[in-house]
Amino acid sequence: MSPSVCLQEMIRVIRGARTQGEERGVIQRECAAIRAQFRQADNGGRSHNLAKLLYVHMLGYPAHFGQMECVRLIASSKYSEKRIGYLGAMMLLDEKQDASLLITNSIKNDLSHSSQHVQSLALCTLACMGSAEMCRDLAPEIERLLKASNSYIKKKAALCAVHIVRKIPELGEMFTPSAHSLLSEKNHGVLHGAVILITELCERNPDNLKQFRKSVPELVQIMKNLVTSGYSPEHNVAGISDPFLQVRILRLLRILGRNNDAASDAMNDLLAQVATNTDSSKTAGSAVLYETVLTIMDIRSESGLRVLAVNILGRFLLNNDRNIRYISMTSLQKIVQTDHTAVQRHRGTIVDCLKDQDASVKRYAPSQRWHIDTILHVLVTAGGDVRDETVPNLIQLITAASELHCYTVHKLYRALISDIVQQSLVQVACWCIGEYGDLLLKGECEEITPMQVTEDDVLDALETVLQSHMSTPTSRGFALTAIMKLSTRITNNVDRIRSVVSIYGSCIDVELQQRAVEYNALFKKYDHMRAAVLERMPVIDRNSSGQTNGDPSVEPMKEFNQPKPVQGVLIQEPANQVCDLLDLLGDSNPPLLVTNDHTSTAPNSTNSTSSNVQDNLLDLLGGLEPTPAPSVTVFEKGGLSLKLQCDQQTETSTTVTFTASNSTQSDITGFNLQAAVPKSVQLQMKAPSGDLIPAQGCGTVTQTVLLSYTNKANLKMRVRLSYSSQGTACQDMVQIDSFPSPAWS
């Protein structure tokens, strides 16, 4: 009976278990049996049992009692037992286990076994779990095998050598001569292993780097052969001849050409050839091109080649394949980080690509942090060329990524203190510092090296922007507002802020002057409101991907830049729902908040607001006495009628009560009333009594609306009714131009 049947039978039983408990039971029984079998000496089924144990181990159950069995099986003379024993060793034994040392001798013997397949098992296991001790012990064997005549063994020995060098870098010099000679092999497996070994040697030791630079011509030739060779069935992947080997060679060339003109020159032509001749319609070709681009940008290549590389990335950005677009974005990010000047020269190309792709970047940006980082890099290098919407877009993105506020404000602060030329970057940085200044001052932030930032440092930075001749008026406005916001986020330097704000009260720039005067007022007369007004912003809600300047998402930005009382912000949400009704009233202005009546001079508006609130409260309390005022039917259709009644008239306010009734045979459900008034009128809707109007006049729904205004003559209202009647959804509109009132006669 071959081992597989036994194993498969057990697997079938385990899979047949209907509950976790049942499965555990089966496995416990099997493990007990396996354990018993292990204890028996000399039984024919040892490899079946270990295989079963390994399956159980993969399901997540403990299998440490199988370790010694692995050791025993590896020492067996039977290939099937060795095979499963070595597999077990790789799965159950790692260098942290004591038992792993016990197999060192077996491995040593098997490395010289007459069968190459047994040698292969030993090599594979050593490369997988060989500890430093084992590696030191067996390194001479591996070195010997590197010179063996068999390519099957040579390729495996090469990767084993790679593992040894990773574990004990000093042993690298043992392999250097062999590594060099392996480059003349024809076998791709061996070549591939040799390239990886050389890469590893060069990365660990600069002396090796010098030595292997001499191999650049040889490597270039190998690459040329691969690129220009005809179709090779053995190595062809989607029209590319051995892309795996090509990529590894390109990576090695990158290391060899870095910071070295001679080596870089020697590979210039080849890189140009690969860049222009590789077909990137499939992933294999794109992988090669990607590696080529990374190499070109990292070595001392001539500018023509660099342009070629950036153009390839540009093409990638427009590729249909999402993965390729992602790769191009990450490459651009890397390039911007390491090679600022090269990117500057090609700024136009990159920004053009980014401009077009902004929406798709959002769709596949792997993380908010990545997205923020990428846009920051664009701002740092090309801030002067980005679209206007980038500033509010980035701010919206930042507010949405609440767990990244600390990281973002730290990054932006550092960008700001190094350079204040790029205005879009300055604006975003000022806004963030104003909003999240407290997080900046705390100092600690994951993912960023800690940097102690004092309140004075932050205020210095913002004042620099304020005073610099390089700052545009918009940026200065951002800075001043940010300074003001910090007054509620810092503790020691509030006086400094006070003095800045009062100085700018006489600034020539009218915008700055106005802001400063209002902020002054916030310090003096309205100090009790200052904390509420300067509170953290709620997450800005985005309803479109923001293509034009007339974008609703941009409007909140304009709102926040001007000092509006908190009430303007709080009432924004319900007002937005009424916005489209306001549109219908035919105002030529863009959709305005209902509370826009509060003008931008803070003192007057806050006064009238508070008095209005008080009035409204009074009205509510007072309005409980039912004065019989005439009610007018304003709407009638299909059995639904709406009556209007006015109460509590004063010169500047009215309480209107709507009553809806239903004379049809069936109930009207989902009844909803929306109202809109002109700019000069204040509207406050109370909650309706319900949304179901019973049939045949058995009940009504009432809703009260409070109106206040400066001029009675302007009082008009447009009402929209939505409801469901007899299964159909309906919507109706009625305009009310005159209001009945006992006071008006």
Binding site: S2, Q8, I11, R15, G44, A51, L54, Y55, M58, L59, G60, K78, Y79, S80, E81, R83, I84, L87, D94, E95, H117, L123, C124, A127, C128, M129, S131, K155, K156, L159, C160, V162, H188, G189, H192, G193, I196, E234, H235, V237, D242, P243, F244, L245, V247, R251, T283, A284, S286, A287, Y290, E291, R322, N323, I324, R325, I327, Y364, P366, W370
Partner: protein, 154 residues
């Protein structure tokens, strides 16, 4: 180098795990948990690359199985997609139209094939035919040994 290669089903059941760097059982379990959670949560039309700690994660779904590997910073993600695809091709050639059940019931063979393709987190052979030949030869060796097993030792 590749740090690990995992195969798991759409329900998050592990079908194969290969670790190319020594790790404690606890670390391995954490990685498995994190990978299955992250990859299974991905929406259909997102790209095949992720970031996790300091590693680049590349995954691809083949029918009911997710192939997921963790790469280091210098590794080429697009090439990793090709590596995963190559492994699937090798399995397909060996089992003849491979499906998840083949890998479940013959997991040790899936490992043997993997060990002919990757070693120490790197590719050891770039030719499909070469790998297929060596697996066949090893299996033949095993068959012969099976015969010996039923005979007495001397």
């Amino acid at each position: 180098m590749m740090r690990f290669l995992l195969l798991f089903s759409r329900q998050g059941k592990l079908r194969l795990q290969k670790w190319f760097l020594p790790m404690t059982e606890r670390e391995k379990k954490k990685i498995i948990r994190d990978m299955t959670t992250m990859v299974l949560a991905r929406k259909p039309r997102t790209c095949n690359f992720l970031h996790w700690r300091d590693l680049k994660i590349v995954y691809k779904r083949y029918a009911s199985l997710y192939f997921c590997c963790g790469l280091e910073d210098q590794d080429n993600e697009l090439l990793a997609l090709e590596v995963l695809h190559r492994y699937v091709e090798l399995l397909d050639k060996y089992f003849g139209s491979v499906c998840e059940l083949d890998i479940i019931f013959n997991f040790e063979k899936a490992y043997f094939i993997l060990d002919e393709f990757l070693m120490g987190g790197e590719i050891q052979e770039t030719s499909k035919q070469s790998i297929a030949k060596s697996i066949e030869a090893s299996d033949m060796l095993q068959e012969t040994m099976e015969e010996y097993m039923s005979k007495p030792a001397f």
